[in-house]
Symmetry: C2
Subunit: 594 residues, 2 copies
């Protein structure tokens, strides 16, 4: 059955939607594939729904092929299982919570680890039942603080999530690897340029974890790669800490007057002017910058946290967010400083000089009782210029391990192009990507919390070990659009196009309309999915709409018809070729099935 | 690819689930098709999901065939459109409401009239764009007061909802009829024994409305039929009011002592004893029973309502519910009587005798200011025995229209087998059914509330007229199970079976296992969907599970194999036939594709 554009429920827009930040969002709306219903919540129009279903089907085929079995959970879930794993609280404001008419607590599922664990516990009891991989393609909900970029970060979205269940670690490794291979096939079929990177597991818990990132400047994730093959999300990079330094002959920490040096740049300039080094100038890397955050825990409790990093590096907001999750780190306001006069803004440091002697100022055991964590580069023996906790004053030769001890390490400083890869595989380069898939070795966290055990070969109860694996299905529609669109509109790869061919009748005259219609019917009979632009509209409008809508191939039935010719256009390359009408079906079938 | 029962994620249960009231619920759970997650909220296991998808596909094919176009709306919806049509309030406790992190009001969509209306308003502007029918197959939410019977009345469920948009009433009639025909094809293909009945439109608004009810004793709906072709949900029956009576020579209403006659039975007995009629005995139909309700409006406002019906009929709770919707009628409690001493429980009537004269007691204009509605049979001129509003006292010859006037008619008395059809087509018979589909002529209610207008042929803005059409997709799974299951388990019709054939290897020996496996592979190669029971289990367990799981055909590879025979069993009829193994594939293909 051919689809006629005169009857298709679609309207292209001449103007960009006001809220569209990225190309895929702009074009999916302008081409009539989706419409915004609320922030981060979209409606699928017929063209968009066709693409979504094609993505779903590719994911389903590959999950089935690896032996995973499809199930479907509700989106509306009771509180209790998520209470048992603490995620009811840990998800914080990202969770949509609601009450039913009887006052019972429910949530809209952001991910279903708890429910799958309980279902397997309900059905299975023996090692003989395992391994098991089950999945669903289902609508999920997260109350994102900043929904953005259309389908790329929504609040209601379609995900494939699967879960593996094994009796031991070797089984989990095998299930993880099977998913990894299935994901490679899925993202290959989607035609995405992607990279597999080490990842943080965030609120999921668990150990080994990798992300599949579609490489895209519009992506929200930053990842690093080295020539030697290291690849990681910046959130997951653990920098290689330098070796401990012998600080044997360094002088004692001493205070210096540094008026008006509330910034690192001012401080370095003042240091080089007032107390220059003999061997080289001071640089920002010689300074220790101490940044104050308010850490808000999921239960609402909050505390101050001070993070010390070399002054030449900023703190990376996403690395910080990932490191403190499920707590959230907020910048401190002036009234927090006002409430803590011992924190002298711009001059904070781990050490104070009291009666001529260095005394630790920061840290849970210090006089302020404020937790103090430092960058891995702040190893024992390293010496720093840092704040003296007195206005317009810094200390020089403050030595880690001698003058102060931090409460721990927090590896959240920015990663820069050229930084060494942690595994020694060469300098890192940074790029951005869209998270398309995520595979985790969850381990026994959920099975333990919810009591999923089976009898092993020896009749002994053992806790099951699990993996959790996600694919952003609706996000994939946007990611492919983002990767393939151009200045004129969408340009789908064949595997995801709503139609194989768009037939355009251009020019007046019943002959042209009749020939276009017959060609559309013939293409349909040959098994192609055909969209016929039969509207009473100008050729210009039809050409523009065909480019916006982005079918991979269009056929123009117009002026050339008097010579028995039609024009075949390739959307992606812009190539045009004239083909005899009589050969058009064969030509197009060959193109589409190539 | 064949599916092996040894690996399929399923467990059959030997015991009925405690909460299963109906057979379909019992067997869908016991056969491992679904699992309860929360009240009225279910998880689909692989077997169940296969059936659900088959139903979805039948619905989708027929909707596409009638020219409707598929879209997909979110389930999480903003408040504003539902506020504009008052349904945010009118849905009362049936609506799941929630707030996002910014305090914005959202709901989980119970039905999507508002959203479809706004989408068409967004895209379309001319009569040339119409007619249009668009639909979705999507998860919906209703916070039912009494979720029951498994999938038959859930709180999260799958529906197909479609909406038609026309420029005039003739267009709406055509769109409605097209849906009606598509529904007939859908329910025919589902193999349901169903009836199309007149329906109330409830909270939907609108005029013409019909329901497709699967005839089933487990159904929640009661419908009536007459030999002449009248068919209606009892909620939608409007009884034919008798003609007005001339009450010219009736004596004035007079009080009689009727001690201890708080019930109609007691009253009739007392009347025949104390003041018998000359022509015939008094019957309950001579009495007027006045029942007090508390009417609670969606905005929380409440008022008393008194309903007068002939004493031989009860008030039908569902007819009442439908008639007062979106308000709800609750029985009154003793403290309501205590708060209204003028309402004498057991002796309430529309008239009091004050100083020897009949004075109207009930009604919005009466001294009590309580709304009083009467059954259509209470026409002017009819005389009644009814309460005197004094303990142990009734009035005789209280004449409607002479002694009292009600505030209006309320047609909510029970309908009984043998009652005349309103259209004169003969006596009614009652039966029960499961509501599978509902088609409405909504008219212009939603288009007006949300401003959906298009330019007509004359360039004039006209309000679009709409239809709304629903199919219970997940409910259909249960309805078909309910209609086809027996005392041994499920018994699917071929069109909805998760697998065409279940192959059972029964008996020990590698030869049997190998032959069963080869037969399964051959059937798969012939295009059948095959479930192979390859478990190490006894023949008894395999036979029982095959009956519970309910594939239409099973093939037993067992004892007969030495003679080159397999046994083909028909699940529904129980018929068994021995077939040579060599002919089994041909035999089964013929069965399945018959």
């Amino acid at each position: 059955m051919i689809t006629r554009l005169s009857q298709l429920f679609v309207r292209t827009l001449r103007e960009d939607p006001a809220d569209a930040e990225v190309a895929s969002h702009r074009w999916l709306v302008r081409a009539g594939y989706i419409r915004r219903t609320a922030p981060g919540i979209y409606t699928w129009l017929p063209l968009g729904l066709r693409v979504l279903k094609l993505v779903e089907e590719i994911v389903r085929e590959e999950m089935d092929a690896m032996g995973a079995q499809e199930v479907r959970f509700p989106a509306l879930l009771p509180r209790e299982p998520y209470e048992a794993t603490h995620r009811w609280t840990e998800y914080g404001q990202n969770l949509f919570r609601l009450k039913d008419r009887k006052g019972g607590d429910y949530l809209l599922g952001p991910t279903h680890e708890e429910m799958f664990t309980l279902l397997v516990k309900d059905l299975y009891s023996s090692y003989k039942d395992l391994p098991l991989s089950i999945y669903q393609i289902q609508t999920k909900y997260r109350d994102e603080a900043r929904p953005r970029a259309g389908l790329l970060r929504g609040r209601e979205f379609v995900m494939k999530d699967s879960y593996s269940f094994d009796v031991d670690d070797a089984g989990l490794d095998a299930s993880y690897e099977a998913h990894r291979q299935a994901y490679i096939r899925i993202f290959d079929r989607l035609g995405l340029d992607y990279v597999i990177v080490k990842a943080m597991s965030g609120a999921m818990g668990g150990s080994a974890s990798e992300e599949f990132l579609a490489i895209s400047a519009s992506g929200e994730d930053t990842f690093v790669r080295s020539p030697g093959g290291y690849a990681a999300n910046v959130e997951a990079v653990s920098i290689a800490a330098p070796a401990t330094v012998d600080a044997g002959d360094l002088p004692a920490a001493r205070a210096v007057d540094t008026p008006g040096t509330g910034t690192i740049v001012e401080l370095v300039a003042a240091a080089n002017a007032a107390f220059p080094r003999a061997d080289r100038p001071w640089t920002a890397a010689d300074t220790l910058k101490n940044v104050v955050f308010k850490l808000v825990h999921p239960d609402g409790r909050s505390e101050l946290l001070i993070v010390g990093v070399p002054g030449d590096r900023d703190i990376d907001a996403k690395r910080l967010e990932a490191a403190v999750s499920p707590a959230e780190a907020a910048p401190v306001a002036d009234d927090d400083f006002a409430a803590n006069p011992a924190l002298v803004k711009g001059y904070i440091g781990p050490v104070s000089v009291v009666d001529g002697a260095a005394v630790q100022h920061l840290g849970a055991e210090g006089p302020l009782k404020v937790r103090y964590l430092t960058d891995p580069r702040v190893v024992p023996g390293t010496a720093w210029i840092t704040g003296a906790n007195v206005i317009d004053t810094h200390l020089v030769d403050v030595v880690a391990g001698r003058d102060f001890t931090a409460d721990g390490v927090l590896d959240v400083a920015e990663i820069r192009d050229g930084d060494p890869a942690p595994d020694g595989s060469g300098p890192l380069s940074l790029a951005r990507g869209i998270e398309m898939g995520h595979i985790f070795q969850l381990g026994r966290k959920y099975a333990e919390a919810l009591g999923l055990k089976v009898l092993d070969q020896n009749g002994k109860l053992v806790t099951v070990t699990m993996g959790s694996y996600g694919v952003g299905v609706s996000r994939a529609v946007a990611a492919v659009a983002e990767a393939t669109c151009d200045d004129h509109g969408l340009a789908w790869p064949r595997a995801l196009a709503p139609f194989d061919v768009q037939v355009l009748a251009t020019g007046k005259g019943e002959e042209i309309a009749a020939a276009a219609e017959q060609l559309a019917l013939d293409l349909d009979a040959a098994g192609l999915r055909v969209l016929l632009d039969d509207r009473k509209a100008s050729p210009g409008v039809k050409f523009a709409d065909a480019e916006i809508m982005g079918m991979p191939t269009s056929v123009v039935v117009g002026r050339g018809l008097v010579d028995g010719l039609v024009e075949v256009r390739d959307r992606a390359s812009g190539d045009r070729v004239e083909v005899p009408l009589a050969e058009a079906v064969g030509h197009l079938v060959a193109l589409v099935t190539a």
